[in-house]
Symmetry: C2
Subunit: 132 residues, 2 copies
Amino acid sequence: MNISDVASSTGLPVKTIRYYEDIGLIAPARSANGYRQFSDSDLHKLAFIGRARSLGFGIDACRDLLRLYNDQTRASADVKKLAQSHLGEIDRKIAELGQMRATLSHLVDACAGNDRPDCPILADLAADRSKA
Amino acid sequence: MNISDVASSTGLPVKTIRYYEDIGLIAPARSANGYRQFSDSDLHKLAFIGRARSLGFGIDACRDLLRLYNDQTRASADVKKLAQSHLGEIDRKIAELGQMRATLSHLVDACAGNDRPDCPILADLAADRSKA
DNA sequence: GATAAGGCCTCCAGTTACTGGAAGGTCAAG
DNA sequence: CTTGACCTTCCAGTAACTGGAGGCCTTATC
């Protein structure tokens, strides 16, 4: 299988697949002409990584997950720990974005959005927050 | 005012302030010894940027906001449009993270988290999603 | 056999918004 | 006069790709 076939079957861009080889996530064979030859195992690995990435796991976490996946003696506790830690990260980000959203949405609602220059959004950004 | 005073009064790291000068957000004066001398206006600008950044606006958006702020003939509609667009971005991100959170949380709940190797999380990641 | 299209290759640079560190000048205190 | 805290610039690295240049390889067509 050539790289573009793998790309269309995993949904990953060709460039991304090459990049994953660069950083050592996969190591596809090469044919005589230098083209990458992907095995079913490579394909499977890439799909695995793609799925993990789509759940927001970072590359290093993907590496860990792949290692755990290939380790028959793993404890599910280790996987769970990794996933929980990532879940915590996600929750933190959601909370942060939610906070931004609340403030910003409030400001947007307060803004007339007309031809006049008066704007509560700019007023908020420029407000002096140095108390004392 | 020297840079470290500005840093402590704006809450921005010294490095970040220098970076903001590099990319042209501010242009503090220099004293004879080459030290940056920050005016009240510089300070105000930095506080403005810091606040905008904390609401998740990107650097380019900050530039636009600053420009609008300094333009007495602005229309609040332009500010609102910018803010709404950013709000949309935030909503998109929250939705994406929420989706991840839902899936991941489901998987984490399903995982025993014990010494056994069986793990629904890994099973999900490895699942063949190629529906022919 | 020539050529053109398309796929593949590598390598380099750019993206976002900083952050860390090295090498070195400046300033106030003791 | 030296120590330590500032300040300066410049270079490199972060996360995870993405775009593009320059150049083989392959396949189809004339």
